[in-house]
């Protein structure tokens, strides 16, 4: 009586090999190498990269992180376009990235309003924790400069 080891190659094949009706396995069938279709994956990734690169430019202006302002949140807002902006930061006023003294706001706004087309308006960008008193000079100066259409920048939370 000879002992047959289970690790012997001749004993490794299952007993029901080739008997299954679902996946009949035959020793003479060549094994197919599994191939992954990478081309379609590359296409999808490329589209994602393009969207992430140009998305904010298409879907609206992103909040400029350099301003370091926490804009108030609003749900009924519209998306902003590239427009003339007046930033209120640390009690200072910046019209188109140029600091303006509160006394000169009217004159500067008058200069800017001459360049406005019909659809353009002045966008006021301020931190949500600001006291409303800081907005007063801008509101008064805008009215003196003849600007009735104002836009208050918010963090867009709508659809």
């Amino acid at each position: 009586m000879s002992f047959q080891s289970p690790f012997n190659k001749s004993n490794r094949s299952p007993m029901l090999l080739g008997q299954s009706h679902l996946r009949p396995q035959r020793s003479n069938i060549k094994k197919k190498a599994a191939t992954l279709m990478i081309t379609s994956l590359v296409d999808a990734f490329s589209i994602l990269v393009i969207y992430l690169l140009f998305g904010p430019a298409i879907t609206g202006e992103a909040v400029n992180p350099e301003l370091k302002l926490q804009l108030p949140v609003a749900y009924q807002s519209s998306l902003a376009d590239q427009e003339t902006s007046l930033v209120i930061k640390n009690n200072r006023y910046y019209l188109q990235n140029e600091e303006v003294a509160p006394q000169k706001l009217v004159a500067k706004l008058k200069q800017v309003s001459r360049k406005f087309s019909d659809k353009k308006a002045l966008v006021i960008i301020a931190d949500q924790k600001n006291d409303i008193e800081k907005i007063n000079p801008v509101l008064i100066a805008a009215s003196e400069a003849g600007l009735s259409q104002l836009r208050l920048a918010v963090e867009h939370q709508g659809e």
């Binding site: 990734f45 108030p72 519209s78 998306l79 003849g146 600007l147 920048a153 918010v154």
Partner: protein, 155 residues
């Protein structure tokens, strides 16, 4: 002949491209700015762009107070006399009760038949809260204006 034919049928190895794109996506996802800037448009009642009209229309005011109260007033356009007034008391912790304010302002606007509401904040009121008031009014599809902040107790 056979070897030449095999050389012509080559495949570009796309795995490195896939790796580069994956890194690009990870980088862009982590550095992307997801918050978008929007705006609330306001029509100021002062300035030379306003249309001239012979008779002043009635106006509705929403006065935002520092103690969390909201004063809603309907004033006559002819003599600025007070036609109706209601106060929205603050919610717990001096928080503005915006849901109550929304229903009250809707009632007042329906009664006064005006579509313009002017927000008048008191000095000391947060800019964020003023925007919240304007946002509530925008939700009611009203034309809104913002008056410069007033010092002292609003009446």
């Amino acid at each position: 002949m056979n070897t030449k034919a095999k050389d012509l049928d080559f495949e570009v190895n796309l795995l490195p491209v896939l790796s580069v794109l994956s890194i690009c996506i990870c980088f862009l996802l982590t550095t992307a700015i997801w918050s978008r800037m929007g705006y609330i448009g306001i029509n100021q009642a002062i300035g030379d762009q306003m249309p001239s009209s012979s008779k002043n229309p009635d106006s509705v005011f929403m006065k935002v107070k520092t103690n969390g109260q909201l004063l809603l007033q309907w004033k006559s356009g002819e003599d600025s006399s007070l036609l109706s007034e209601s106060t929205v008391q603050p919610a717990a912790g001096h928080q503005f009760n915006w849901s109550k304010a929304k229903s009250e302002i809707a009632k007042l606007v329906a009664k006064s038949k005006t579509s313009t509401v002017i927000v008048m904040p008191e000095i000391g009121v947060n800019y964020g809260e003023t925007i919240r008031a304007l946002d509530v009014l925008k939700g009611l599809s009203l034309q809104i204006g913002l008056a410069p902040a007033i010092k002292g107790d609003l009446k």
